[in-house]
């Protein structure tokens, strides 16, 4: 009896695939046993104890696939190696025919690029621990990367982006939620027309809000390049922000540029200011959470996403919108309450950038908010104070899709906030577009109605901003109408919604005092 151990480095496979490989190899003539496993220490020990050569096994790591084979003769093992190569390349007999094979799609970067050699961008959405490895393979192949995966280490991000910069490629991400390239949306993106405004963003919902605000003003987007939220950290040093800005500076279709990011490191912001000042095209910047600085050496630092979009729209030749049409909502007063008591605001956001924007606007209106340092649950009392919560934060999304897709957690918190009679104003966002929930408004309304019903007549004002374009698949106008019919105040941006909510709060307090 002959034995053979094959180690396929970095070839991670899910359980179904491992089982398929085991079964198909075991079916090869002359093979008595075939086992495909990941190369963990325990598996290596087990295989060694089962009589497979320990020296070969020692080469494997938990990231590698180990195939252990027993056959009647060395010749049979040779044919198994050929079959294994075919299987892993997706050309095994079982994988090469039938509708299941057609629907399977590529399993590795190599397979994907063999199928589409013309593509020069690889979109990577695999679990975080594997993502850097896959992205490196794409860079090896000379392709830029849209890295949707999260849970990629900072060290891996720095290494990937240094390599990309050296190769003249882009790594958009990790945790890059949004990009729009020549009108094609990647990740979560809104369907906007092509136009003269280029966007670089270290913030997915920041890009979405800007592109929708431009869309509401009839202005399109040339390209929106996401960079991942850590790009402007000291470690990453704005590597892909700078690369994206350079691309837009050279792009003839782009006549002006918007940059959006959360809290850049001071040293990075200083360095990027020089890049922006020399860009050669009008540029407006929105650093979320920071106050307006106006024009600084030709770079416009806006105080809100609305202001940044307005500036770019003006550069692109759009007429300024009359103030009355910038807010879709009509309600300005909270319903009266004859009873006395505390009154406070709770913001429950799906978009982290929109939460940051709302906090900034609320503070400007004198409403101080806190981000709870504990995760809110439907079963525990709310912490005190005016609260702003990003339900897209990692703590709320363990094992769940993002709240833009699955509203379960946010809806449970809407009901929990409603059950707290001291909460009088609820501030929400609703992000539409490709990748987002197909019809989110009815579920939000349903839960607001349930929350209000549990308050024994005590009113609850709800203001919601809608981030959606005219062509989004959910129907932005229809979503807004459903919200209005449910008794929610609707605003066309997170900043306007926060302003409305801030205006409602004193009115509520006055009513309470009376």
């Amino acid at each position: 009896m002959s034995t053979l151990v094959l180690v396929r480095s970095g070839c991670y496979q899910d359980s179904a695939r491992l089982m398929q490989v085991s079964r198909e190899l075991a079916a090869v003539a002359g093979v008595s046993e075939a086992v495909a496993m990941m190369g963990t220490e325990t598996n290596r020990r087990l295989l060694a104890e089962s009589g497979f050569p320990a020296a070969e096994l020692a080469k494997a790591t938990p990231l590698d696939m180990v195939v252990a084979l027993r056959a009647e003769s060395p010749a049979a093992l040779d044919s198994v190696q050929v079959a294994l190569d075919r299987l892993l390349a997706g050309r095994g007999e079982g994988a090469s025919s039938g509708p299941a094979a057609a629907a399977k799609g590529p399993g590795t970067v190599t397979e994907a690029l063999e199928a589409h050699p013309e593509a020069n961008l690889v979109s990577v959405a695999v679990p975080g621990p594997y993502a850097a490895f896959v992205a490196q393979r794409a860079l090896d192949a000379g392709r830029s990367v849209f890295l949707f995966s999260d849970n990629v280490s900072s060290a891996d991000e720095v290494a990937l982006k240094r390599r990309a910069a050296g190769l003249g490629l882009l790594v958009m991400g990790p945790d890059c939620g949004t990009a729009i390239l020549s009108g094609v949306g990647l990740g979560f993106a809104n369907r906007v027309e092509r136009g003269p405004v280029g966007i670089v963003g270290a913030s997915g919902t920041g890009i979405q809000e800007l592109s929708c605000l431009l869309d509401r003003r009839g202005i399109g987007v040339s390209h929106a390049i996401g960079t991942g939220s850590r790009d402007l950290s000291e470690a990453v040093d704005g590597a892909m922000t700078e690369a994206g800005l350079a691309l837009l500076a050279r792009d003839p279709e782009t006549t002006c540029v918007l940059l959006v990011a959360k809290h850049p490191a001071a040293s990075v912001a200083r360095r990027l200011h020089g890049v922006l000042a020399r860009l050669g095209k009008p540029v407006a910047v929105r650093y979320l959470g920071e106050i307006a600085r106006g024009d600084v050496e030709g770079v416009f630092y806006a105080g809100s996403l609305d202001e940044a979009a307005e500036k770019a729209a003006a550069w692109a030749g759009a007429q300024a919108l009359p103030a009355a049409t910038t807010t879709a909502g009509t309600g300005r007063r909270a319903e009266g309450d004859p009873e006395q008591g505390e009154s406070r605001l709770v913001g429950l956001f799906g978009g982290g950038s929109l939460a940051a924007e709302a906090r900034c606007v609320l503070a400007a209106h004198g409403v101080e908010t806190v981000v709870p340092d504990v995760m809110l649950t439907a079963h525990s009392p709310l912490p005190p104070g005016n609260l702003v919560v990003d339900t897209g934060d990692d703590a709320y999304t363990v094992g769940r899709p993002h709240p833009m897709v699955d509203q379960t957690v946010r809806c449970s918190l809407i009901r929990a906030a409603g059950a707290d009679l001291s909460v009088r104003v609820l501030l929400l966002d609703l992000v539409l577009g490709d990748g987002a929930h197909p019809d989110p408004a009815p579920e939000i309304v349903q839960n607001v109605v349930a929350a209000r019903a549990a308050r024994a007549g005590r009113p609850l004002s709800v203001v919601v901003s809608v981030c959606g374009s005219r062509r989004d698949p959910q129907g932005t106008r229809r979503q807004e109408e459903v919200l209005r019919q449910g008794g929610l105040h609707v605003a066309s941006s997170a900043a306007l919604a926060a302003g409305e909510a801030a205006a409602l709060l004193p009115l509520v307090r006055e009513e309470v005092a009376r």
Binding site: T40, E41, L46, A119, R143, V184, L247
Partner: protein
């Protein structure tokens, strides 16, 4: 990239590498309903048991002398030991370490069988704490061991599953079954449906998770106390 290539680059269709999304996970319901030993006996009698789970619970499976047979025997012995330690109420973390370490990374799968068994065991131990059938501090000691298992000894996907389990977050399909087992008010047909759903997760991950959970139920029903 050269400036002239920007349009070419940006016009290119995105190429989506097949996404392998993690299993949906959640915490167990903090109030999952009552649990009694009598109901556990009834549930064990009627629950759907895939052949894979049966093999792991009995320690018998695979061709004689095969690697599969070795996996099943090894896993069964270690799980049996852990069940004994848990039901003896042992609160010392060290008492669980060697058996848990012997299971992590064991067997086929992107989340190897041994890791799935550990997670199933952890979920059920948390459930049975609610019914007073497992000592709460023993369950905590076991979870502590899961959190401390060396990252390099199993696959990254399994490491994440273990870390989640250590803080009480489990695959949703497992959590739904675990919450219903032993509840005298539960509908047996619903339990059956949920169990079939769990068994269909992955090639055999679901069956392995189920085996881990049922190993502890077996231990309680058999009145196992210690090794």
């Amino acid at each position: 990239m050269r400036a002239s290539e920007i349009t070419t680059f940006l016009d290119a269709a995105a190429l989506q590498v097949r996404a392998r999304t993690p299993l949906p996970c959640r915490e167990l319901d903090p109030q999952p309903g009552p649990v009694s030993r009598a109901s556990l006996v009834l549930d064990l009698a009627c629950i759907f048991l895939p052949a894979r789970s049966r093999a792991l619970l009995s320690g018998q499976g695979g061709e004689p002398g095969s690697v599969e047979e070795a996996v099943v025997k090894w896993a069964n012995a270690r799980v049996d030991a852990l069940v004994g330690t848990l039901l003896s109420g042992d609160v010392r973390v060290a008492s669980y370490r060697s058996d848990a370490a012997a299971l992590t990374g064991l067997g086929p799968g992107l989340t190897p069988t041994g890791d799935d068994l550990l997670v199933g065991l952890a979920a059920m131990s948390q459930r049975l704490v609610g019914g007073g059938l497992v000592e709460a501090r023993a369950a905590v000691a076991f979870s502590t061991v899961l959190a401390g298992l060396p990252a390099g000894e199993t696959t990254p996907a399994a490491q994440r599953l273990l870390q989640n389990a250590a803080r009480g977050v489990f695959p949703s399909a497992l959590a739904s079954v675990v919450e219903m087992i032993g509840n005298p008010n539960a509908d047996p047909e619903s339990l059956q449906t949920l169990t079939v759903g769990l068994a269909s997760v992955g090639a055999h991950s679901g069956a392995d998770l189920l085996a881990g959970a049922l190993a502890l139920v077996n231990g309680v029903v058999d009145g196992k106390k210690s090794r």
